[in-house]
């Protein structure tokens, strides 16, 4: 492709990934898939996506850069290429998004040898789905205000508390869990565990209903749950540091173990919608205001792609975290604005719910718009992201 800067191994891998995806694109799903893995609700969706992840794993597109002794493929700098190729091919996303982009990288940094061998292989194949226990009713943007307690009892810990907004909790085998082990210190009183979820005594998972009326995430209650000390990640009181590693990967500031797939630039889809939508007697695609909005959207998405490229050119980055720390914020707002534009273009047709056969594109745009607030709130609200950028990159005083 004439792309310099790739090693010969990376070029060969890119060729392999592209070829494999062309030949092995999956059959259409049995039921409509949601936009993101964190919204997977039905068992049929799960089964379909789990089998796709396994095939991608076997084709070495998942766990690509993870060492072989932990079930990975031991390459270097190839996961990013696999993700790009999956996006390019428009194949389905990886269902085990929490496992691949948060748990595995965190365990690789902070886990013991036996933890790595126990936990990573199942996350890569997709057999063991992961969820994240970082949010509580009283700990949202103020993430260090965790109240779920873990009390030492010999070789075990006794966990009690309440986690919320737990995507994939109803399918999860494991949770990455932050607990409070000391009330003396806000930050240094936190300890990070991996906790068994499915069928584990004292753990109950209950669905929460989103603004769309759909389920898709959960609350998880812990009542005298026993977690062995062997499932603690890093030291007691180091939970905040471990959580920061997880968040660096969650917010896209570093490459994880996989997770590429659909969710790319919606511009072409919006243009197609505009060609078929009418606005005051003309096609929306001929309306200058709509055209301007479509092009603005295209520029934002192209800007995100080029930011990713520029982030890898040190000479064009005065501050190394300036671009990486923007990615969650810009990505989620781009999706939200794109969905909002879809609603506007569809006009009065966007009043129709997905079950109405008259709804254009099966009611995609209004639901995507409502769901887009998941992106702008989750993983640190975009207001928190702006604080982080203002403080860590621009050096402004802390807003607290």
């Amino acid at each position: 492709m004439g792309e310099s800067g790739l090693t010969s191994e990376q070029i060969a891998f890119q060729k392999h990934a592209r070829g494999w995806l062309e030949e092995n694109a999956p059959p259409p799903p049995p039921i409509r898939l949601p936009l993101m893995a964190i919204e997977v609700m039905h068992e049929a969706q799960r089964d379909y996506l789990q089998s796709w992840q396994r095939r991608c794993y076997e084709a070495e597109l998942v766990g690509t850069d993870v060492p072989r002794e932990y079930g990975g493929w031991g390459r270097e700098g190839c996961q990013r290429i696999a993700n790009q190729e999956m996006s390019r091919a428009g194949t389905p996303f990886m269902i085990n998004i929490v496992g691949l982009t948060m748990a595995v990288p965190t365990i690789l940094v902070h886990g013991t040898e036996s933890q790595k061998k126990l936990l990573i292989p199942g996350a890569l194949t997709g057999e063991e789905i992961w969820c994240q226990g970082f949010s509580e009713p009283g700990a949202g943007s103020d993430m260090a205000n965790q109240q779920t307690s873990a009390i030492r009892q010999g070789e075990d810990w006794l966990v009690n508390g309440h986690k919320v907004w737990t995507s994939l909790g109803h399918f999860a085998k494991w949770m990455i869990l932050i607990t409070r082990t000391s009330k003396e210190h806000k930050y240094d009183g936190l300890t990070y565990f991996v906790c068994p979820i499915e069928g584990h005594p004292g753990v109950s998972v209950r669905p929460l209903i989103k603004i769309t009326g759909e389920t898709g995430f959960n609350e998880v209650l812990f009542e005298d749950v026993i977690v062995p000390d062997s499932l603690r990640l890093d030291e007691v009181g180091k939970g905040w540091t471990v959580a920061m590693t997880t968040l660096t990967y969650e917010r896209g500031a570093a490459e994880g173990a996989g997770g590429g797939g659909q969710g790319g630039d919606p511009t072409q889809r919006l243009i197609a919608l505009a060609r078929e939508s009418w606005r005051d007697g003309v096609r929306a695609s001929d309306d200058p205001v709509t055209r301007d909005a479509l092009v603005q959207q295209a520029i934002v998405y192209e800007g995100i792609r080029m930011n990713m490229r520029r982030a890898k050119v040190p000479a064009l980055n005065d501050h190394p975290m300036r671009l990486p720390l923007q990615s969650k914020l810009t990505g989620s707002e781009a999706s939200q604005n794109a969905a909002r534009l879809g609603v506007e273009i569809a006009g009065v047709h966007s009043t129709l719910y997905k079950k109405d056969p008259k709804a254009p594109e099966a009611g995609h745009w209004p639901l995507a718009y409502l769901n887009s607030y998941g992106g702008t709130i989750a993983a640190g609200t975009n207001e928190i992201q702006r604080n982080i950028l203002g403080e860590r990159v621009l050096g402004l005083p802390k807003s607290k």
């Binding site: 792309e3 310099s4 001929d286 200058p288 520029i299 192209e302 050119v313 064009l316 671009l323 203002g390």
Partner: protein, 390 residues
């Protein structure tokens, strides 16, 4: 846009480009600090705005710029230039914008870029002249402010010795500093590209009164200006200008990115130091968050800019599309940080004594030059959505 582009993933910004940019940063930090700029360009408003005096600039700095070889960056080596990549030139122009340098450098780089795009032998001596430090500017804009190739109001008539020019060329950048003008003149269906020296008989230069104090601008009146055939550098001026257009958009976008970054950093410093309610105002999210939003817009523009310049360097068919995206983003980022920089400085930001106004006006000028964001997006819509079906 979805095809993989045959350009280097680092945009071709390698060690030479980095050295040039760092040298420019160091040279301009030393030779055009903002205190000096203020004294040169904006000592008092009356002479400039009431008496029509031209704002000052430093001829000595320009002489040093010539010695550094910057006017010849886009000129081929055999003509005395250094044949630098556009990506490298863009890196330098960002620094020029960041220091709001008043000089004929940008207009000369633009002129050399167009001459190079003419791809004719006749252009060579002029490229050589520009590389050796003769300042030049483009005369290509018509009375309606047309900012697209070909909207000119100068007519060329054939004569035994060459052509004779009549008409008016508008919005000529830094005309008072330039010795040569690259004039686009209509002849029949085509455009001729002619080089006219400022002393040419029949050429009258009338300075415009403008807001920006870091440049000047003029209207050129041609009344029977004779141009000999050696100075008619192209008979296919439209094709020349179309080839040059993406590069011109990149150069002005780079200047915008530079002023924007200065405005951002200056306002951030102010927000760290200025105290109200016993705290630095940057503590307040009503101050912090807009600065982050401005940073995001500037970064989008810079990333699009380097991509566009790399496509120009690769002669890629998407170069124009990318350059228009870059100019749209750079104009909008410039408008946003200009707005926030003054507002977040409060009362002092509204005064002449605060340096913000210098950068605000340079940015405002560049936002409009060669088409603002709305203009670029109108053209982009034709590419991306398709022409309007009437």
């Amino acid at each position: 846009m979805n095809q993989p582009s045959p350009v280097p993933r680092n945009f071709g910004f390698g060690s030479e480009e980095e050295m040039l940019r760092d040298l420019a940063r160091q040279f301009l930090d030393e030779n055009m600090p903002v205190e000096k700029l203020r004294g040169l360009a904006a000592p008092d408003p009356e002479p400039i705005y009431d008496d029509g005096q031209l704002p000052g600039w430093d001829q000595q700095v320009w002489n040093q710029v010539i010695e550094l070889g910057w006017p010849g960056l886009a000129v081929p080596e055999h003509l005395g230039g250094s044949d630098f990549s556009l990506v490298g030139i863009v890196g330098l122009v960002e620094e020029v914008g960041r220091h709001a340098l008043p000089s004929p450098l940008i207009s000369t780089l633009n002129a050399s870029w167009v001459l190079r795009s003419a791809q004719t032998k006749e252009a060579d001596p002029f490229l050589q002249s520009l590389a050796s430090g003769t300042p030049a500017s483009l005369a290509m804009t018509g009375s309606r402010g047309g900012v697209e190739p070909g909207e000119v109001d100068v007519e060329a008539r054939s004569t035994p010795a060459g052509v004779c020019l009549d008409g008016v060329s508008f919005f000529v950048q830094d005309a008072s500093k330039c010795e040569l003008f690259l004039v686009f003149a209509r002849q029949g269906e085509g455009l001729k590209l002619c080089v006219v020296p400022r002393e040419a008989a029949g050429l009258r230069i009338e300075q415009d009164q403008i807001h920006d104090v870091t440049r000047d601008q003029a209207t050129l009146y041609f009344e029977g200006v004779e141009v000999n055939s050696a100075s008619v550098v192209s008979d296919s001026g439209l094709a020349t200008l179309q080839r040059a257009w993406p590069g011109l958009l990149c150069l002005v976008s780079a200047d915008l990115c530079g002023t924007s970054e200065w405005q951002l950093q200056t306002t951030v410093e102010y927000a760290k130091n200025r105290k109200q309610f016993e705290r630095p105002i940057g503590f307040f999210q009503a101050v912090k968050h807009p600065l982050v939003d401005a940073m995001i817009e500037i970064d989008r523009a810079r990333s699009l800019l380097y991509h566009a310049a790399s496509l120009v360097d690769a002669d890629h068919p998407d170069a124009e599309l990318s350059a228009r995206m870059a100019k749209s983003a750079a104009s909008d980022a410039g408008a946003y940080i200009s707005d926030r920089s003054v507002q977040l400085h409060g009362g002092i930001g509204f005064t002449w004594e605060c340096d913000l106004h210098i950068f605000f006006k340079r940015s405002l000028h560049n936002q409009a030059l060669y088409g603002d964001g709305v203009h670029q997006r109108r053209r982009l819509a034709d590419f991306l959505v398709g022409p309007i079906d009437r």
